[in-house]
């Protein structure tokens, strides 16, 4: 390990202390060191959004953030979204109802984006174009987006 660094952060509400190599990005840290493999990598150059997680409540590309930078942060990943008993979050349930996922590779990132949107909108209805703009940071090759937009409209619209 080159220049190992200790970090302390919370991930999905749990305090984590770990040693990381500075070059390891947050997505690899979550996936490899914490075995939270729901955060996916689709490009590692910040375009696809498959790696989207929440850092201190705001979405971030986990491939463009170093694990060392997350020291002291609160990170939330897809694994924290459904309740402990497995009940899906309303956003997740709506995605299934509207066929907003097919292969599911982009889905964790999509859920995290919609979660941020839901928290920010604080109950006020969002129009379709706002939803489409927010989701434009998450590439999906399977669905043509319509199912996920409809799911978002049901929950946030």
């Amino acid at each position: 390990m080159f220049d190992p660094r200790p970090i302390k952060l919370t991930v999905n509400g749990k305090t984590i202390e770990a040693t990381v190599e500075p070059r390891v990005h947050l997505a690899d840290f979550l996936r490899k060191q914490l075995a939270l493999t729901g955060t996916h990598l689709g490009c590692e150059h910040g375009v696809c959004g498959a790696c989207t997680v929440l850092v201190n409540g705001a979405t971030a590309r986990a491939c463009l953030m170093l694990a060392v930078q997350a020291d002291g942060c609160a990170v939330e990943t897809i694994e924290s979204v459904a309740s402990a008993d497995g009940t899906l979050h309303p956003i997740q349930a709506a995605l299934s109802r509207h066929h907003g996922l097919q292969c599911g590779y982009c889905t964790p990132g999509v859920v995290m984006t919609l979660l941020e949107l839901q928290r920010e909108s604080a109950g006020s209805a969002l129009p379709e174009d706002k939803i489409r703009t927010a989701l434009s940071g998450n590439l999906c090759r399977c669905t043509g987006y319509q199912g996920m937009v409809d799911a978002a409209l049901e929950i946030l619209g």
């Binding site: 500075p22 990005h25 705001a58 979405t59 491939c63 463009l64 170093l66 060392v68 941020e116």
Partner: protein, 291 residues
């Protein structure tokens, strides 16, 4: 692809950052990481030392000053987008920043990062050029101010001496009776612009234009101000023909191109965007809706 190895430094104050940057070989500043990290992950950049400015609280602020706005270099684009102060004092910046990348990248991308990275298709340097932003840098030899027009040296290269760090940016408040517009053309809304245009106009009591600024992005390594077109507008009445003449000059301004978006196409876009941006700016300045 994974980034090559490097040493990581996260100083909590500016002086340490400057000292590190001045003494370490092959060191680079990490701001929001939205441009540098992809380059490192693609192994197109390989600094030996990364100096993360993220822990320097002082660099994240948006303040009203007697002249306008003072914005810390590490202020995120998202913070600018959400700021009432920015919307009120500098609507051009507010309009442009919402067009930078995606929400997920604006959450971490910073004003300073974008200005120092100087991507030709980036929005914020064009705003800085249009508004004659003043950049404050700190370095081993102390602090200095740089007018934005003197900031870009070359493609992706700011005029920062070794060890210098951009600390904050001053932007003058939009004058009364002024209007601004930022337009860009791209294939998908969140992409870098193929060409972008920023325009500001101020109307006098007689309806004549008293101030005009026009900046283009995507036409050269750095944003371009259209001084001749601006001069032509001063004293003119707001009118379609005034916008047309400015657009004509914009379309003739020297321009770089590539195989996909050749220079003549970008010049056409420059003309179109300038014409449209001036009309919107005029309307926002309180000018007649029909022009």
């Amino acid at each position: 692809m994974k980034a090559p190895p490097f040493h990581y430094h996260a100083p909590d104050d500016l002086a340490s950052a400057v000292a590190l940057l001045a003494t370490l070989e092959n060191a680079r500043v990490l701001a929001g990481g939205q441009s540098l990290m992809p380059m490192m992950n693609l192994r197109l950049a390989g600094p030996d030392h990364l100096i993360d400015l993220g822990r320097i609280a002082d660099l994240r602020r948006i303040e009203e000053t007697p002249q306008g706005l003072r914005i810390g270099a590490m202020t995120t684009q998202r913070a600018l987008e959400k700021s009432d102060l920015v919307r009120r004092l500098c609507p051009l910046l507010a309009e442009a920043v919402a067009l930078v990348g995606h929400q997920q990248t604006r959450n971490r991308g910073t004003l300073g990062g974008s200005l120092c990275h100087l991507d030709p298709g980036a929005e914020l340097p064009v705003v800085a050029a249009a508004l004659d932003a003043v950049l404050h840098v700190a370095g081993p030899a102390g602090a200095r101010r740089i007018a934005f027009r003197d900031f870009p040296l070359d493609y992706l290269t700011p005029s920062l001496a070794p060890g210098e760090v951009l600390t904050h940016v001053d932007i003058a408040r939009a004058p009364a009776n002024s209007g601004a517009a930022f337009l860009e053309f791209n294939r998908r809304p969140a992409d870098f612009a193929i060409v972008s245009a920023a325009a500001t106009l101020t109307l006098g009591v007689d309806g004549r234009i008293t101030q005009a600024a026009i900046a283009l992005g995507g036409v050269s390594h750095a944003p371009v101000r259209l001084a001749q077109a601006e001069a032509g507008l001063i004293g003119a009445r707001a009118s379609v023909s005034a916008w047309e003449s400015a657009a004509h000059l914009a379309a003739q301004s020297p321009c770089d191109g590539d195989e996909l978006y050749p220079a003549d196409y970008r010049q056409e876009l420059s003309g179109v965007l300038v014409r449209r941006a001036l009309a919107i700016a005029c309307q926002r300045a309180g000018g007649a809706a029909h022009v």
